[in-house]
């Protein structure tokens, strides 16, 4: 095994348009795409022309970001000497209301990433996108890819139809634990509910910032509902979630748990301990002060050096130049964040190397 340099836990190959998925769709849905004029499933979580959705110097002449494997190799894999990178496809299959259509589109998306990316670049791994519109079909989709070691994770959005701790989703966690697939929760919404509990915000800025509230709700839902009591081997990766909200949130969750823990009696230890055992976070965007001392204090408050996973979030514009590993992250943690923690989090990735 060659020396590992970095495992990028969040990159985003972009589907150019629905035409790209049609080779992977059954005829009936192919027909529906054409007859209904479905051109794209891009969502307002990542509007294609928004600065966040694609760093300017990584966009093709057409303006497209993340659509070219050659560009990904040049700008990311080769440029940062990345050993492996995990593809998280963000295409609005989660927004589709018709469950049959959602399953067809999701299946096509996973086949597309297999053929167009994984088969063409050995450094790539991917997450299995699952249609939560139908839990049964989501489990089937996991089983369909479980034998392919290049799939190392299951991908869902931070804001969906119901909190992820709910028991209706547990068959997915059962399959995840069985196949050693962490649940990756990525920023984004299926827009079933307003992005904030107060109602719809007006601006994209509010949309993106409110994602951390969605992550917080998912963390407390999964912990309080007892997901990790039922599935003690399950890991969850919060992707593009930001990090600075974590310590204060865990303190609050633990404080109030002490007073009302009898309503969740299966939670027999502080929620922060459960979080540290089961949750991981990707590093971009690292929403901490530039001051290295302040950033180090933030990381100290996580009270574990095993939680952070290196990510570039390519081609999203989270940093300039080569600040892919934020310079305010303590140097002593870099190796852990870039290699050791990802290997420990993604056992299928680790196994495929040996």
């Amino acid at each position: 095994m060659t020396e590992l340099t970095a495992i990028d836990c969040d990159i985003h190959p972009a589907v150019p348009n629905m035409q790209a998925l049609t080779p992977y769709l059954p005829p009936v849905w192919n027909d529906a795409v054409e007859n209904r004029g479905i051109e794209s499933l891009d969502t307002m979580s990542y509007p294609p022309n928004a600065p966040l959705s694609g760093r300017a110097d990584w966009r093709a002449a057409s303006g497209a970001a993340g659509q070219s494997l050659d560009q990904l190799r040049r700008d990311a894999l080769d440029h940062w000497n990345v050993s492996y990178a995990i593809c998280n496809c963000l295409y609005g299959v989660q927004l589709v209301f018709n469950a049959d259509m959602a399953v067809a589109f999701t299946t096509a998306l996973n086949d597309w990433v297999t053929k167009e990316w994984l088969d063409r670049e050995p450094r790539l791994r991917a997450s299995i996108v699952v249609p939560l519109q139908s839990v049964e079909d989501a489990v089937a989709e996991i089983e369909r890819h479980a034998s392919d070691p290049r799939f190392v994770q299951i991908l869902v959005l931070a804001m969906g139809e119901a909190p992820l701790g709910r028991r209706q989703y547990w068959p997915i966690y059962e399959a995840a634990q069985k196949h050693q697939l962490p649940i990756g929760i990525h920023a984004g919404s299926s827009y079933r509910h307003p992005l904030t509990s107060l109602g719809w915000p007006s601006y994209f800025l509010e949309d993106y910032v409110s994602q951390s509230q969605g992550f917080q709700a998912q963390v407390s839902s999964m912990i309080c509902e007892g997901v990790f009591v039922k599935y003690p081997e399950l890991k969850v990766v919060l992707i593009e979630s930001g990090i600075s909200w974590v310590p204060g949130f865990l303190w609050r969750l633990g404080k109030f748990w002490r007073g009302v823990r009898a309503e969740v009696p299966w939670i027999d230890r502080p929620p922060a301990e459960i979080f540290r055992d089961h949750f991981r976070l990707t590093t971009q965007p690292f929403d901490a002060p530039d001051d290295p001392d302040a950033a180090a204090r933030l990381i100290d408050h996580l009270r574990s050096d095993e939680l952070l996973l290196f990510s570039s979030d390519y081609p999203h514009w989270q940093f300039d130049g080569d600040e892919v590993m934020p310079s305010n992250i303590p140097a002593s943690l870099r190796r852990k964040i870039m290699v050791d923690n990802p290997l420990a989090t993604y056992p299928r990735l680790a196994q495929s190397l040996s």
């Binding site: 028991r167 748990w257 002490r258 009302v260 009696p265 299966w266 027999d268």
Partner: protein
């Protein structure tokens, strides 16, 4: 440590509690189904009066969605933030080794013993015929 007579058993029936003052120390004494338990009347968290808390059972679970309810009346919840304490040990549920409330030995003794022994309380009238609740402080 000295023994202090709190009350005649007849005056301290099951499912009642008393707040007593022993040399300036506030202590809550519970009668739970005929057993007496005494705790320092100050929650170690923020100082709430446990005398004003609610006695409940112990809720446990081995599996999400299942509930085991036992030891009814043996858990005192602080009225301020609902932290739970075991009346038998004073230990908190959430952090039993670090957060606990001082507990005291309390038992029933016959008046005859108290009249004879060196333990007679200074102010409480004790008669040979009755049983009394006595606390070690």
């Amino acid at each position: 440590m000295a023994k202090h007579v709190i009350a005649a058993v007849a005056d301290f029936p099951p499912e009642t509690r008393k707040l007593i003052d022993v040399n300036g120390r506030k202590i809550v004494v519970f009668n739970v189904k005929g057993e007496y338990f005494a705790l320092f009347n100050r929650c170690p968290h923020e100082g709430g009066s446990l005398f004003h808390g609610k006695l409940t059972g112990l809720v446990e679970s081995d599996d999400p969605g299942t509930y085991k309810y036992s030891r009814e009346g043996e858990i005192i919840r602080c009225p301020w933030h609902s932290w739970e304490f075991d009346v038998r040990t004073g230990k908190s549920w959430c952090d039993p080794n670090r957060v606990k409330v001082r507990n005291y030995n309390v038992k029933v003794e016959p008046g005859a013993t108290l009249v004879e022994g060196p333990y007679v309380a200074e102010t409480f009238p004790v008669t040979v015929e009755n049983d009394y609740v006595v606390i070690d402080v």
